[in-house]
Each structure stands twice: as structure tokens, then as C-alpha cells.
């Protein structure tokens, strides 16, 4: 009898101790959880602060560059350089830059803007030559009495990535006589209408796309133009 009582008592003692231990572990766990939570919250706050600072810097840069571009455009339009008109232009450019500084540079890729502009200017004569060639071709097609046209719609998948280069390629295709970009799908597939098999084949060869990719510094191709540029740099180093 006494022995059983003793065993029961020890059992109860052990269970109480076990309960206390569990409780202590729970408390400790919640404490660590709380501290880690507060730490992560603080970290998140710090990150948000840093991100906000970066964003503010980027937006102020955007504001400044938009203002400079608009001021140059104003000088081009106005043509009057007395102090009154220049200050008017300054105020107007500030207002417009404040209203829409996030539109002009919405999603800019990393790249040297000056180099892009240089390459774009170098691309223009080639494109004009291309327009002249296909202009003559289309005129021949249309003016010949048999009208040997074969209108067809074809699709090709582009390797370009940003929306700027998509737009540049689409407008280049549309500017060339005989071919029109109908649509760009979200996956980057161009739907193009061509008047003739030859025009479609010219476009499918992908020279224009290569040039556009070269302008906007996209895709992993090595271009002859790049090699030539580098050769000049190495020549200067020697």
C-alpha cells in the first residue's frame, strides 16, 4: 500500500517536472520566435528604407534627365534665346518633368545611352538604303501588268528582349515598303504581313533584327561591328 502510494507520488512529481520543462521550452521557443520576428521586421524596415533611397535617387535622376531633354526640345522649338523665353521654357519643362518623369524612362535596361544613340544614328543610313531597295521592288511588282503579288502572313519569334527594341524592330519593318507588322504577341512573336515571297525571305534572314539587337546591346551574339570597334581600341592601346 505504502509502496504504491510512494510510486504514485514520484510519478506525479515526474509529471509535474515534465510539464514545467515543457512549459519552459514553450516559453523559450516563443521568446526566440518573437526576437527573430522583430529582427526580421527591423531588417525588412531597413531594406525598405534602402530600397526607397535607391528609388528616390533613380527617380530624381529620371526627373533631371527628362528636364534636360525637354529643355533641349524647347530650345529647338522656340528659337528665341532671350531671358524671358528661356525662363518660360525652364518653368514649362519643370512642370512637364514633374508630371510625367516616369513615362520617358519607364523600363530602361542597363546600357550606355550615348553608345545607343551613336549606333542608332549609324543604323539609319542602312535602313534608308533598305527602304529604297524594297521601294523599287514593290513599285516593279505593282506597276507590272500581271501583278505578280503573293500576299502572305507569317510569324517569327524574336530574340530581342526589351519593349524599346521590339518597337524599333516593328516600326522598321512597317517603314520598309511591302511589309507591315500586324501584331506582337506577349511571347515576343511577330506577326508580319508581306506582299511577296522575296520581301518575306529578306525579313526572315534576320539581318535587320541583328542590327537592332546590336543597337540596344541585346542577345549573346558577337557582332562584326563590335569586333571592328574593339580592333580600333586595341590599335589605340598599341
Amino acid at each position: 500500500m505504502e509502496i504504491t502510494l510512494l510510486v504514485q507520488a514520484t510519478d506525479e512529481c515526474f509529471s509535474v517536472i515534465e510539464k514545467a520543462r515543457r512549459h519552459a521550452i514553450d516559453v523559450l521557443n516563443t521568446a526566440t520566435l518573437l526576437t527573430s520576428e522583430t529582427r526580421s521586421v527591423e531588417e525588412r524596415k531597413l531594406q525598405a528604407l534602402l530600397k526607397g533611397a535607391v528609388q528616390a535617387r533613380a527617380s530624381s535622376q529620371q526627373f533631371l534627365s527628362t528636364f534636360l531633354i525637354l529643355m533641349a526640345f524647347w530650345c529647338l522649338l522656340s528659337g528665341k534665346f532671350d531671358i524671358f523665353h528661356l525662363s518660360l521654357g525652364c518653368i514649362c519643362s519643370l512642370v512637364i518633368a514633374y508630371l510625367s518623369h516616369d513615362l520617358l524612362f519607364a523600363n530602361v535596361r542597363v546600357g550606355d545611352a550615348r553608345l545607343i544613340i551613336q549606333r542608332f544614328i549609324a543604323y539609319m543610313p542602312w535602313h534608308l538604303y533598305q527602304i529604297a531597295i524594297s521601294n523599287v521592288h514593290v513599285a516593279k511588282l505593282v506597276l507590272s501588268p500581271r501583278m505578280p503579288i503573293e500576299p502572305n502572313v507569317f510569324r517569327f519569334k524574336t530574340k530581342l528582349e526589351s519593349d524599346m527594341s521590339w518597337m524599333a524592330l516593328a516600326t522598321s519593318i512597317t517603314l520598309t515598303p511591302g511589309t507591315i507588322t500586324i501584331d506582337i504577341e506577349d511571347s515576343g512573336e511577330f506577326v508580319v504581313h508581306a506582299l511577296d515571297k522575296k520581301l518575306a525571305a529578306d525579313l526572315n534572314a534576320g539581318e535587320m533584327e541583328d542590327k537592332i539587337a546590336h543597337i540596344f546591346m541585346e542577345s549573346d551574339h558577337i557582332y562584326i561591328q563590335d569586333a571592328l570597334d574593339m580592333a580600333r581600341v586595341f590599335g589605340a592601346m598599341k
Binding site: 513615362l103 521590339w166 506577349d186
Partner: protein, 157 residues
């Protein structure tokens, strides 16, 4: 209700052109006394730029940029500027919109005062015209053919 367009070309072109269009509109307003144009034309171009934003980027983006309350405030403000300058001339003893009498207030010669007065009136007219255009377009866009289908919408094929 005008939804966001999914077309990449149109969106990109509109995004790049809109600041230049707005600056051109302000140029037309400010140079109204040297070249063709003036308050009304500049206001229409400014309104057209906002309409371009609305039809390419959707109603929500345009409303974020300039809400209907702001539009209401702006077109009252435009009329206030116009009528205020006119009435100011009455107080200085001239006729309505007779800017020459504002010369002592602005400390310039009467000819320059006329030029500045016309500039102020044109800014007022431009703001009023822009906000009224955008307000009309907002109203049309919010109760378009989707709201009461089949009354105005008919397509010829």
C-alpha cells in the same frame, strides 16, 4: 471603361511621345502672340496628350495621374484666371480685358503689359480647355458602350 491595352508598340510609342506632346502644347500656349495657336489650341493639344495616355494605358493610370476632382478644380481655376485678369483691368479704370492699364501694377511699359496680360489670359484659357476636354472624355469613357450595350455601338462590316 477603357482597359489597359496589351499592344507593346502603341504603349511604348505613347509613353515616349507624351512628354514631348505636353511640352509642345505649352510651347503653343506660350508663343501664342508670335506664331499661330494660343490658349485654345494649346489646351486642345494638352487634352489630346492626356486622352492618348488614357486610351493606351487604361483608365486607372490616367485617373491616378490626374483625378476627376483635380479636373474640376482646374477648369474652375482656368475660368478664374481669365475672368480675374479681365476684372482687374476694370478696377484699374480700363475696359474688360484692357491690359494696357495694368502697366503700373507690373512696373513695365503699356505695350509689355499688354503682352504679359495676353499671356496670362492664354494660360487661363489653355487650362480651362484642357480640363474640359479631359472631363468630357472621362465621362464618355466611364459610360461607354459596355455600360448600356447596343445603343450606340454598331459596327459596319
Amino acid at each position: 471603361m477603357i482597359h489597359n491595352s496589351t499592344d507593346v508598340i502603341i504603349k511604348t510609342v505613347a509613353r515616349i511621345f507624351i512628354p514631348f506632346i505636353q511640352l509642345y502644347a505649352l510651347y503653343v500656349i506660350m508663343h501664342g502672340h508670335y506664331s499661330p495657336g494660343g490658349g485654345f489650341q494649346g489646351g486642345v493639344i494638352l487634352g489630346a496628350s492626356l486622352i492618348l495616355l488614357l486610351i493606351t494605358h487604361g483608365e486607372r493610370v490616367a485617373m491616378q495621374r490626374i483625378s476627376e476632382n483635380w479636373i474640376t478644380i482646374l477648369f474652375s481655376l482656368g475660368v478664374l484666371i481669365y475672368a480675374g485678369i479681365g476684372t482687374l483691368c476694370l478696377f484699374f479704370g480700363g475696359n474688360f480685358l484692357d491690359y494696357g492699364v495694368l502697366a503700373p501694377l507690373l512696373h513695365v511699359s503699356p505695350a509689355a503689359a499688354r503682352s504679359l496680360g495676353i499671356l496670362g489670359v492664354e494660360i487661363g484659357v489653355g487650362i480651362a480647355v484642357m480640363s474640359v476636354m479631359v472631363s468630357i472624355f472621362y465621362n464618355i469613357a466611364r459610360s461607354g458602350p459596355y455600360r448600356n450595350k447596343g445603343t450606340t455601338a454598331r459596327r459596319e462590316s
